[in-house]
Assembly symmetry: none
Amino acid sequence: MELSDAREVTREDGEPLLLYVLDGLGGLPGPDGEATALEAADTPNLDDLVRRGGCGLHDPVAPGVTPGSGPGHLALFGYDPLRYRIGRGVLEGLGVGFDLEPGDVAARGNFCTLDAEGRVADRRAGRIETEPARRLAERLDGIELPGTRVFVRIVKEHRFLLVLRPDGELSPDVDDTDPGQTGLEPRPPMPGSEAAELTAELVRRWLEAARSELRGEDPANGVLLRGFSSLPDWPRFPEVWRLRPLAVAAYPMYRGVARLVGMEAVEAPDAPSELPAVVREHAGEHDFVFAHVKGTDRAGEDGDFDRRVAVLEEADAVLPELASAVGGVTLVTGDHSTPAALRSHSWHPVPFALAGGRGYRASGVRRFGESECRQGTLGWRRGCELMPLAMSHAGRMAKFGA
Amino acid sequence: MELSDAREVTREDGEPLLLYVLDGLGGLPGPDGEATALEAADTPNLDDLVRRGGCGLHDPVAPGVTPGSGPGHLALFGYDPLRYRIGRGVLEGLGVGFDLEPGDVAARGNFCTLDAEGRVADRRAGRIETEPARRLAERLDGIELPGTRVFVRIVKEHRFLLVLRPDGELSPDVDDTDPGQTGLEPRPPMPGSEAAELTAELVRRWLEAARSELRGEDPANGVLLRGFSSLPDWPRFPEVWRLRPLAVAAYPMYRGVARLVGMEAVEAPDAPSELPAVVREHAGEHDFVFAHVKGTDRAGEDGDFDRRVAVLEEADAVLPELASAVGGVTLVTGDHSTPAALRSHSWHPVPFALAGGRGYRASGVRRFGESECRQGTLGWRRGCELMPLAMSHAGRMAKFGA
């Protein structure tokens, strides 16, 4: 269902909703070759959710596709990530918590090493460390352009964010300058349309200034830019779903994606045990709360199965408090899988559990786990189909087509 | 699969098909907290279907979406209801059995109450009863417009149907006059495009005449119009599926939706037990029969679990006679769920059973019910995917792509 279709049937009354995201929730069998971290963990509150309500699996983007954090969360907010694409520059901005404004043009930058002939010798400047790279970024942040404010922010290691904030209007339709391989010169910034000619000219001038600023540096004597983009003009979450949404997350990326669709966002400490207090403090007039736990994903990326189990148990322990702070319907899931066995995001479907509100069919499922969710009455869905499902259980959707 | 894709592979030979729709078939657990009405009912013939053939679940429109009757049936006829949208005016026309012709412009009307300043005080005229509203509708039916016939038909209570039948051509692209809330004046009928200027002018004149006709009435001294629409120009069922279809239903709405896609439609008494005789009488040259049972939905809307069980048993009892009157493949399902527990249409997936023809995989499923169908070999589908499935079992689909 398109968001415009959803907009036709959503209602302002009904129950509130909690979306509790355990980042990278889905996993693969651990040491015993059978149970995933979720299946090995002792999670009485998640199990209770499954028994009172229902469960299922979802593919955040599409079957076989490994989601990044941005698309994974967009899907949970009801936005089909294959249709709603976030530009690379904007994504970096969200990741570092830069307060992008409508009309800003953002790009992802790499410090690189150029050889004596000006060709790219290393696209990542020997993966320069963050601190020396930060000092270079601060120098580039001082470059001035006519009629446009310029911001440069370090992301991590060789990665930085470039933002142009024009007095007037700028199109982000400029091609990457990164040639994508070594042995070639950086490309000039080419406008993809007439509207982007001024942007390309400003970027060309900025690149000249950056090159002279970095002359003689080693290894980072050049820069490459890609993913020129602006904040998208999408249907806003509060209007589509007729909800007053609040995001609570420790990391800028997740607050950023939430703000991108029109949520209010507040920072929380990293530990799940700190979430209920923050949610209670800010929930106020909100009838939708997205609360984010990062530790599940981090333990997966670190290949630490036992820590994944421990974080899942900690996340489970605070669920009753969180759910009672919001009331109504509770949806617990992840934005993608991060099996410890793979030490990375993966394409595997993600378990979800839904309870509260009304209208669940009986199921024999007793535990919240990957295998059990395959038998769940809520089915195997695409990630963006979970919002309509939760909304209906909350009594917030009218009939389609009378 | 798009209808244009289906058209490429359908064949004129093969077995006939019966689509037996038990309206609002899907349910939720009843008094015992476990069994739905379908699971509680004694349905030996439906169970036999599942054992001989296969079963599954379908989402008529999309996951989490509660279908209206129109979209639910379109899906069963193979039309994706998110793509094939029926205008509100046309839907009302189908509902009252008005014989809409191509080029007619139909709108849904409300009798309303206007205050002394001409603002809407009640959008439904105090939910005026049907009989006094009918007398008002008959007076409005007498209004004349140049070059255009005008029809007004009562629907129920404050609801009526307005149809303009022009000598020439009229575009239905006119905005609603219903402001959607009280305290505002009705909007003038604004054309959405140049082609609709004449329609808007005719509607404006009709509204003037209606207002003077209703002057002094209490509570219905005004009218609001919305959902201006014409019969859609869609691929026709007989051409897409290469079938000669017959619809048999007691209610105008279902015959109307069937006619909308090009089916021949006949009226039947309300009781399932009367269906086989009507089907036998009219089946003749038809190789597709859509037979409709309303009582399952009605019992659900009334919150009457026991009556749902009784109607399901009655519908089950006549299945063998119906199936033998048509021969070939039998598909039994609903257009949506109507759990007695919710007293309304709902978003829950609907069970379906398919038998006859050829090509079923073995399944351990012994009963036709919501839980059992989740384990069925025919899977969990979108509603519009059932027609291709049934067609293939009937030997009526050739290879796609040779």
